[in-house]
């Protein structure tokens, strides 16, 4: 009765019913490549965390309602958002970068770090004319600018690879949106630079010899 509609990095996503409602079953299935203890630990942690953060984030952004959580089956049942992913529309309308910025900015104002802000995790329900944010398995609470900066760095990384031709336009909208709601921008942009410059992100220092 449930239909597999997406296979993400960590979960299988089924569309089914919950009582009278259409509902999404997000099932974290066993990873055969992992040591069993590690696999179970991660699936348990992320299921619990995601359910908790989907709820916690609601005072700042729209997230699907959590209907049921089974720790034993590593499953979250949640409201079905009938809509489109940012991933599939942003190349045609790169100005939507602003929406992502606003959503992430509002989340950061609550001191919630998303942890995986890729463009498949922003869903638009055109009937309700609302944007939803999903996929909170890597989310956590933090007021550190550095953690927020890592979130922004992830957006940059993903948009760069997934939407190379509209990268500039998307990101400029993104920063506008982020700044308009959070005002934390200045400090955080400096932090992004820091992250990107340190260690593995080090920039070119070439010399003649």
């Amino acid at each position: 009765m449930e239909k597999l509609i997406a296979r993400g990095a960590e979960a299988d996503i089924y569309l089914g019913r919950w009582g009278p409602l259409s509902a999404i079953y997000k099932v974290r299935t066993a990873k055969q490549y992992m040591a069993e203890e590690l696999d179970k630990k991660i699936r348990r942690q992320r299921t619990v965390r995601e359910a908790r953060m989907l709820r916690a984030a609601r005072s700042a952004v729209d997230t699907p309602h959590v209907l049921y959580v089974s720790q034993k089956k590593y499953t979250i049942v949640m409201e079905y958002i009938n809509g489109k992913r940012m991933l599939d529309i942003i190349d045609k309308s790169p100005s939507q970068g602003k929406v992502m910025g606003e959503i992430l900015g509002r989340l950061h104002m609550l001191n919630i770090i998303h942890g995986d802000p890729n463009t498949a995790n922003f869903l638009f329900d055109s009937k309700k004319n609302k944007w939803y944010l999903v996929d909170f398995g890597l989310s956590y609470i933090s007021s550190r600018k550095e953690d927020m900066a890592v979130d922004l760095h992830l957006v940059k990384e993903v948009v760069y690879v997934q939407h190379p031709t509209s990268f500039k336009e998307i990101m400029s909208g993104f920063y506008d949106g982020y700044m308009s709601v959070s005002g934390k921008m200045a400090g955080i942009v400096k932090k992004i630079d820091e992250i990107e410059r340190r260690g593995r992100y080090a920039r070119n220092r070439s010399f003649l010899f």
Binding site: Q32, N118, N204, S206
Partner: protein
């Protein structure tokens, strides 16, 4: 027939290789610097080693392919990233040969070298790449003439993590193969921090934790748990990229790619996402001249070279700042 010489000297390995334009590797001669056990690589010592073996390694590469300097069409060298003193040895000898015999000189990015040789040897077209060399732990895809970074480590590389763990149990670097053998004898999974941040990874907490657990746990279980955790993190990031980018090939290159347990895990990852694992024969997975020679040929074909007086080395050279015109 175009013939090129490639010289690699970014870290432990000094190597020279002759390759032709059909992608046939005519020779691939290596000499590896081994630091005393329990200590890491010392750049000066390594460069001294390279300087000593360089002339004979280059000569053997030519001899094995039965050609002389005059028959070469270009000289390619690894210009970075890597250890400054080591890089200079390879660059200096390459510049000398190029200037003396008046041949085009081609600086090559070490990481691009791994990827392009890997693609050649496994027939990969448009792969998602895991670059796991000593200085890189990155997930990449080609976009518009560049290798774009999809995710990477925020601190240590996987190679450094394994080497540093090896050092604390008294192994010489590179410790990968020995750690792998020790890990095979471990069976108990010891809880360790698992740090995936979106598409990025962090290994420093893992190293701290394994060091702290040294007194109370046997080496075998620690090595096992370290590998299981670090490789699972990497596999997950690979999965994230495959789920988003829908690539049909997963190419693994760099020294750590030789690890059998890692390959097994990535095989399962590939199956789950309907893609093909492309792994490079062990001889060519680690640092070698062939990676530089082949990439040199790709640049030569695109008409790119530098004047000997413009030869450069770069200790920290971002792979996503390097133009790779044949990928546009």
């Amino acid at each position: 027939m175009t013939l090129g010489l490639g010289i690699e000297s970014t870290a432990h390995t000094f190597s020279a290789s002759v390759i032709d334009d059909s992608g046939k590797i005519r020779s691939n001669v290596k000499s590896v610097y081994r630091p005393p056990s329990g200590s890491g690589i010392h750049p000066r010592e390594a460069s001294r080693h390279h300087a000593e073996v360089a002339p004979s390694v280059v000569l053997s590469a030519l001899k094995e392919s039965s050609i002389n300097y005059r028959e070469l069409d270009f000289i390619a060298y690894s210009a970075g990233p890597g250890l400054g003193p080591c890089l200079r040895v390879g660059a200096t000898i390459s510049r000398f040969i190029a200037a003396y015999y008046d041949k085009p000189l081609i600086p090559v990015h070490h990481g691009v070298g791994h990827i392009e040789l890997g693609s050649l040897l496994t027939d990969a077209n448009d792969p998602l790449v895991l670059l796991l060399s000593g200085g890189h732990t990155m997930v990449l895809a080609a976009v518009n003439g560049r290798w774009r970074v999809f995710g990477e480590t925020l601190d240590l590389t996987l190679g450094q993590l394994i080497d540093q763990f090896g050092r604390t149990i008294g192994l010489a670097s590179p410790a990968g193969p020995t750690v792998e053998k020790i890990a095979e004898k471990g069976s108990k999974y010891v809880d360790m921090p698992y740090a995936v941040k979106g598409n990025d990874l962090s290994f420093s907490g893992l190293l701290t934790s394994v060091k702290r657990k040294m007194p109370e746990e046997i080496q075998e279980n620690l090595a096992f748990s370290l590998q299981e955790t670090a490789f699972a993190m990497l596999s997950e990031v690979a999965e994230r990229a495959l789920a988003l980018l829908h690539k049909k090939e997963l190419l693994v290159v760099g020294g750590v790619a030789a690890n059998a347990r890692l390959r097994q895990m990535l095989e399962l990852v590939s199956d789950r996402h309907g893609c093909k694992l492309k792994d490079v024969p062990a001889e060519y997975a680690g640092d070698c001249g062939a990676q530089i020679a082949w990439t040199g040929w790709l640049y030569f074909k695109s008409g790119y070279s530098v004047k000997p007086e413009k030869a450069f080395v770069s200790q920290s050279w971002r792979i996503d700042e390097v133009d790779v015109p044949w990928r546009s």
